[in-house]
Every structure is written in structure tokens, then in C-alpha cells.
Amino acid sequence: MADNFTFIIDGTEIPARQGQTILKAADEAGIYIPRLCNKDGLEPYGACRVCTVLVNGRPQSACTQPAQPGIIVENDTEELTEMRKQLIEMLFVEGNHFCMFCEKSGNCELQALGYRLGIAAPRFPFMFPQRELDATHPEVFVDRNRCILCGRCVRASRDQDGKNVFQFTGRGIKKRISVNATSRLADTELKSADKAVAACPVGSILKKGVGYAVPIGERIYDHKPIGSDIESKAK
């Protein structure tokens, strides 16, 4: 197979290299494919499914699917946007997300995607689960109410920090993020400067003592929707 080739996203021909995922190639071409569990520098994971695209008509997660010469990818379609909306709504009703007083508000990828996709309020009934908050650590806390089970902290801690502080336990709707100690975050090796802390897309892992420091109007997504940085690269 050629090292450099092209393929089509929504009618536009874009360049790609052997070994790139569809999402990565799209990013470089300035085309934004919505995503949550994917983060630059972390191994692709394929969990949130928000990046689902149609590849030659078949649904695939763009963050894990390799780009191939000549494939036809559908991304920005009415049908896929509706499905992505439903996925985001699922994540909202599955946890307890009270954005109006969450420290992550304005900097949260889940919230920002909700806005970008035009979700005013989830249509599905809220589940209001019981989830634990862990504030034992002097510098960092975990509020599982806001966890979307994206696994970014798991991968960052294991592959970037070399610590394995986080991992999932349980299965199905009872799956939770857990820490590498009998129960307390304070008993792990986590430090506030760890990549794992910065990796969380939502307000589930947060540093203490810095909440609400950035005023409204200066937060990441206050002026431009999520994905704008990628789209600004378009030629």
C-alpha cells in the first residue's frame, strides 16, 4: 500500500498517511469529527462512540479505524449528528451533571459538545445514580458523578505517568472508575501535575484550590465551539 494516499470525507478529498486513523487524517485536513474519549498523545480507545462515521456505508469509530486509500467517509450528516446527540444525551442522563455549579463549566468537553450539537436538555429520563466522591487527596479530587467512563485518565496514568493510578471496576451500567488503592485516592501515587489529572475531559478529576479561577468569558469554550481549533486549520 502506498505510504501517502487520499480518501473522501463528505465529498472532500483529503490526504492521509499509512498508519493514520480516519480521525487523525481529518484533524490534519481541518475537518472536525466530534470525539470525547480520544485525546492526542493517548492510545485510541473507541469507547464513547461519538466519533462514529460511515466508512463505505459501514459504521466505524473514526478514532480507531485506519484511513485507507479511496474510502468514502460520511461524517457531517443529519443522521450521524442525531446519533451523536443521543450519545451525548446518554452520557448526561447516566451521571449527575449540574453544569451551573460545576468548576469545569466552560472548559468541559461534554458540555461543549452538547452546545455544538444543539442540545438544550436531554430528552431521555435522568438516572440519578448514586456515585462516590473522593476528596481524600490533598491536591486532587474525583467526583464520579461527572465521570463519563472515557478512560483517558486510565491511559494517561499508565502510559504517560507510568503509574496505573486509575482503572475501571464493575461492568455494564455499574462500571466505575477506581483508584489503585483499597479505596482512597490519597493512598495512590497521584500528583496534581500528573498527565492523568489534565486528561479528564469533564469535571470528574479536578485540582483543588483552583476552581472558578477563570472568569466567565475567558473559559475555553466561551466564544468558539469545541472543534474550532481543528477547523481553523482548513485550507
Binding site: A47, P59, G170, I173
Partner: protein, 604 residues
């Protein structure tokens, strides 16, 4: 005491070479010996095996047969799958509860007996059924349930519960179980009368490529459900560069209503291992793994015995049948109660000692499977079919069955019929014929392929079982005239919710939501618009889920909506008070009314 536990657990780890690959075996043994995998045990394992404790906890909390809470010495797992519900499991459950004085999920005060529910244990042809530790108890009644509890209280020994033995190898001292094979119809391939060993002998006279070509020409497709062409899978695995390759047999048999692999494992294990060995030869693998569901642990002595005999006879081990360059052996890997582990990449995760999370594809197992090596995963029946196919030849094989589907298929038939059991039919058999044979002419609905398959009604009974029409891994559940179709769908959704691995959003969350909408309908609180939401949500779950579990989990709702729409619409409500029927204003006001101590004047 706690030092004792830690030492005992470390001893178990040592017996498994402190190797992470055997984490499932270690956890199972700890659970059996100590009644739980407690935090202390987790610490000890992490220490001995040298992996982070949260890794151990992650695996330990994934499987239904492992628990952090202490279980009784004896665990009664009563199957409450749909077939057992038809067979009256309710009264059995009540008898167990009364006689034990505990509810499901609880343990008797003396710590002797824990009572639990479990999904299908592969005994749907002899429901209601239960597991008592590893022993299988079939054809339960409320009287039997009470007797079981009394015997257990008196003897503390589940083995004492086995009274009358089943047929075939079930009666062997190595199995000693009351399970019946219920083989109702023998065909020309799987249950045919022919000597063991002929297939392997012939295969070894051919080159590996010739063996693969034969399988390809026979157009053998996977019998586990997905129907992938076996020859192609073998060829891909053989072609992968890595010389270290693996053969895995998928004996997880978790699809509710399927039990044909159980019968093959019981009475035809020689043929199964022979098929795996042929595959090993064709693909160039040195090691085979039989991934066996924990529910079938009662077969383990028999299977180990067959393997030992094969080693002695020189048909497993080094230089098989004198063929110098061909070494192949097989080991058994147990699961621990997780339907998703039947999905081939989840199965591989489990074999590696991890949570049963499916893996991202590509790479496919044929390229990078078990421990990163090329791996071929096939169903039990697929391997058994290979033996006969090689012996008789591809031309003979394709003369059986229908055009696109050659050979025969084992069907596990259960539910409202006179003769539940295993039937071997050539592909192409109509549902009508099948219902006649099993004594269920008055069936109202048939579930083909288990919960992940489809529900069909009378208008479809002329359709045929084959890959191009009604494809199935073998589960056929029959529902009689007075059965409530929505209740069946509701139970199936409950099954998927319990069994979702939770990795991806649509399957983890979407199925819970779907069941919620279905309940709305069943409670008479739904309107037409709710059905539209259900359809749209179901499509999202099907389309965006990561593995076959989520991609099929909305089928109970989608196929009953398609085939039994009036069962839904007759329950729909139109609103009287201007609110949505699903919104109950009285319920919402209840709490504030009780706090204020007065009734709402607006909504009384």
C-alpha cells in the same frame, strides 16, 4: 487469620507460577476456597503476580462468579431465564426462599448457603434448572427445591443432590450428573456414526494448505452465530507472519436458549479436540485453548481425561501421529460468568487474565489475537464439523444443506413444545417443519438465534434456517399462544443490561433507556411518540455500539415492534389531563405533599 488468607492466596498464585496469564484461574480458585475475592486477597494477588492492585480488582469485579463480598460455602444459582420462567421458576424460587429464610442475593446466617439468580446455564431443555456450586440440578419443582435445601443443610455436600443420572457420558463417574443429552435428531455430519481419528489421519496425509482449501471448498461457515467462512479465517491466520499461533475453541455458549455445545462437550469431546488439532495443523499453531464457560465446570474431569488419553495415544503432544514437525496440545481455560466473553475478542481478553472487554479491531485476532499472536477462534460445532468434512471431502459436504449454506446445523430447541432438545437438520429446514417435529404446531412466536436474534410470528413460519434467511447460532425458543411477547422482550433487555461490558456508551446506557421505554408501554404509560423514540434510540445503539453485543441488543424491541406491533399499540394511552401519559403528577407531588402536610389544590 488475615495473614493466613494472604499466605493461602499467595500459595495459589505460586501454583500458577505467579503468572498474570493465569489470573482467571487464580481468582476462581480464591473464590472457591475462600468464598470471596476480598480486598485482602486482591492485595495478596497483586503482590504475588506483580501487577497493580486495581488491575486485579478490575478483573475480579467483572465476572458474575467472582465477588468481593463473602459468599456461602454453597452457592445456589437458579436460572431465571425466560425459558425457566415459562417452566414455572417462580414457585421454585419461592420454595428456595422460604426453605432457606433468605432472599435472592443473600446468604444464610450460618454462612452455609447463598441464593442467587443467573441467566441461562445451558439447560433450557430441562428447565427449571440450577447450579449448586458445580453440580447441575434439572427439572426443578418446588418440592425438589425444598428437598435440596434440606439435604444441603444436613450434608453440606452438593454432590449428594445427584440422584438419578443422565444418559451418555453424563452417567460416567467422571461427570456423574443428572443432565440429559436430549439428542432428538441425528444428521449426517455432527451426530453421524463414524470412528474417531479418521479425520485427523486423513488431514495429516494432506498439506496444511490442502486442508484449508478443503474447508474453503466445503463452504463451511462458523456455527457460533456470526457465520464467517471458516476457510477464510484459517487462511488469514495461517498467512500472518508471526510463527507463534493459537487455536481457540469458543465453548462459552452464553446465548440464552443454546445448549448444543454442552451435548458435544459431553458426548463428542474426542471429535472436538480432533477438529481443533486439524485446525492447528492447517494453521501452523502449537497450542489450543478450550475456553469453557464456568457453568460447564461439571464437565472438566471428563474433558481433562479425554485430553490425557489423547496425549497418551500420541494424537496430542509432540510429533503427532509420528509427523515430525507437528506439535500441538490443548489446555482448558475457564470463564467466570460473562456472556460478552463469547465475543471472540472479549474471550481473548479473558484468556489473558483481564476484564472481558472486547478489543478494538483492527487488528483482528487472525493478525494479533491471544497475547498479540495470530489466533483462530471457532465455535465447538465448527471444529466438530471439520472432522467429518475432511474425512468425507468438500464435495460430499456441499451436497448437504442449501445452496449458500452447506452442511447441517445443530438447533437447541426449548420452550413451549413437547420434545425440547438438540436436533441436527440440514440447512434449509422450514420453521413449520421444525415446529411439527418438536410438537409445537400451535406456537405463536419463535425466537431464532437467542435474544440477539429475532422474534418471528406465524406469517414467517415458511421461512428457512440458513445463513441467507434465518441465521442462528442454534438457539430456537418457542412461545405458545398465551405468552406475553412484551414480557419476553423485556426480559431479553434485562439480560443485555446485565451482560453489557460497559465499555461503550450506547450499549451501557442505551439499553437501560430502551428497557425504560418498554416498561412505560407495558405499564400503559406510553404514547405513540414513545414508540418513535424507542425506534430511533434502538437504531443508535445498533449502529454505534462497539461489539456484537450492543449491535444486536435492541433486536428484542425492534423485531417485536416489526412483527407484533399490535401488542404494543393496544397498550398505548392518550393523555387525559394534558400531561404525557408517562408523567404521573401525583407521584411527583407526593414528597412535597407529605412534607407540607396538605394536598395540592390544583392537582387533586
Amino acid at each position: 487469620m488475615s495473614n493466613d488468607l494472604s499466605a493461602a492466596v499467595k500459595e495459589i498464585c505460586l501454583q500458577h507460577n505467579n503468572d498474570r496469564i493465569y489470573l482467571m484461574d487464580i481468582l476462581r480458585k480464591v473464590q472457591v476456597d475462600h468464598g470471596s475475592v476480598s480486598d485482602e486477597a486482591i492485595d495478596a494477588i497483586a503482590d504475588a503476580v506483580s501487577i497493580p492492585r486495581v488491575e486485579v480488582e478490575s478483573t475480579a469485579t467483572f465476572y458474575a462468579f467472582l465477588s468481593k463480598e463473602k459468599k456461602g460455602k454453597i452457592v445456589i444459582r437458579l436460572c431465571n431465564d425466560i425459558i425457566d420462567r415459562l417452566a414455572g421458576v417462580d414457585v421454585v424460587a419461592k420454595a428456595f426462599k422460604e426453605e432457606l429464610g433468605v432472599d435472592f442475593g443473600e446468604t444464610t446466617a450460618d454462612g452455609l448457603i447463598t441464593l442467587e439468580y443467573t441467566p441461562c446455564i445451558g439447560m433450557s431443555d430441562q428447565a427449571p434448572a440450577a447450579l449448586v456450586n458445580d453440580e447441575v440440578i434439572t427439572y426443578l419443582s418446588s418440592d425438589k427445591a425444598r428437598e435440596i435445601v434440606r439435604t444441603l443443610k444436613k450434608t453440606g455436600d452438593p454432590k449428594k443432590l445427584v440422584s438419578r443420572l443422565g444418559d451418555g457420558n453424563n452417567a460416567s463417574p467422571l461427570v456423574n450428573s443428572m443432565v440429559h443429552n436430549n439428542i432428538r435428531k441425528k444428521g449426517d455430519v455432527i451426530f453421524a456414526d463414524y470412528p474417531d481419528g479418521a479425520g485427523l489421519k486423513k488431514a495429516l496425509t494432506m498439506s496444511p494448505v490442502e486442508v484449508i482449501n478443503e474447508v474453503t471448498n466445503a463452504r463451511l461457515r462458523g456455527r457460533g452465530g456470526a457465520g464467517f467462512p471458516a476457510g477464510m479465517k484459517w487462511q488469514f491466520t495461517r498467512a500472518a507472519e508471526d510463527p507463534e499461533k493459537y487455536i481457540i475453541c469458543n465453548a462459552d455458549e452464553g446465548e440464552p436458549g443454546t445448549f448444543k455445545d454442552r451435548v458435544l462437550l459431553t458426548d463428542y469431546p474426542e471429535r472436538l479436540f480432533e477438529g481443533m488439532t486439524i485446525a492447528g495443523y492447517a494453521i501452523g499453531a502449537q497450542q489450543g485453548i478450550l475456553y469453557l464457560r464456568a457453568e460447564y465446570a461439571y464437565l472438566s474431569n471428563l474433558l481433562e481425561n479425554v485430553l490425557a488419553k489423547k496425549r497418551k495415544d500420541g494424537v496430542l503432544g509432540k510429533a503427532i501421529l509420528g509427523k515430525k514437525a507437528f506439535d500441538f496440545d490443548i489446555r482448558i481455560q475457564f470463564g467466570a460468568g460473562a456472556y460478552v466473553c463469547g465475543e471472540e475478542t472479549a474471550l481473548i481478553s479473558s484468556c489473558e487474565g483481564s476484564r472481558g472487554d472486547p478489543k478494538n479491531r483492527p487488528p483482528f485476532p487472525a493478525q494479533k489475537g491471544f497475547m498479540g499472536h495470530p489466533t483462530c477462534v471457532n465455535n465447538v460445532e465448527t471444529y466438530v464439523a471439520v472432522v467429518r468434512l475432511i474425512d468425507m471431502g468438500a464435495a460430499w459436504f456441499t451436497s448437504i444443506g442449501s445452496k449458500g449454506s452447506s452442511g447441517t446445523k445443530l438447533l437447541s430447541i426449548s420452550g413451549d413444545c413437547h420434545a425440547p432438545g438438540v436436533y441436527e437438520y440440514p440447512f434449509g429446514i422450514t420453521i413449520k417443519q421444525l415446529l411439527q417435529d418438536v410438537g409445537a404446531e400451535d406456537a405463536k412466536a419463535v425466537q431464532i438465534g437467542g435474544p440477539s436474534g429475532q422474534m418471528i410470528g406465524k406469517e414467517d413460519f415458511n421461512r428457512t434456517i440458513c445463513y441467507d434467511d434465518l441465521a442462528t447460532g442454534g438457539s430456537v425458543m418457542i412461545f405458545g399462544a398465551d405468552r406475553n411477547i412484551l414480557e419476553v422482550a423485556d426480559y431479553f433487555m434485562e439480560f443485555f443490561i446485565e451482560e453489557s461490558c460497559g465499555y461503550c456508551t450506547p450499549c451501557r446506557v442505551g439499553n437501560v433507556l430502551l428497557k425504560g421505554y418498554l416498561e412505560r408501554v407495558m405499564n400503559g404509560q406510553a404514547e405513540e411518540a414513545d414508540l418513535e423514540v424507542m425506534k430511533s434510540l434502538a437504531r443508535t445503539v445498533k449502529t454505534t455500539s462497539r461489539c456484537g453485543l450492543g449491535q444486536t441488543s435492541p433486536n428484542p424491541i425492534l423485531t417485536t415492534l416489526a412483527k407484533f406491533y399490535p401488542e404494543y399499540t393496544k397498550l398505548l394511552k392518550t393523555s387525559k389531563d394534558g400531561f404525557k401519559p408517562s408523567f404521573n403528577i401525583q407521584e411527583v407531588l407526593q414528597e412535597s405533599q407529605s412534607i407540607t402536610g396538605r394536598k395540592s389544590v390544583h392537582f387533586s
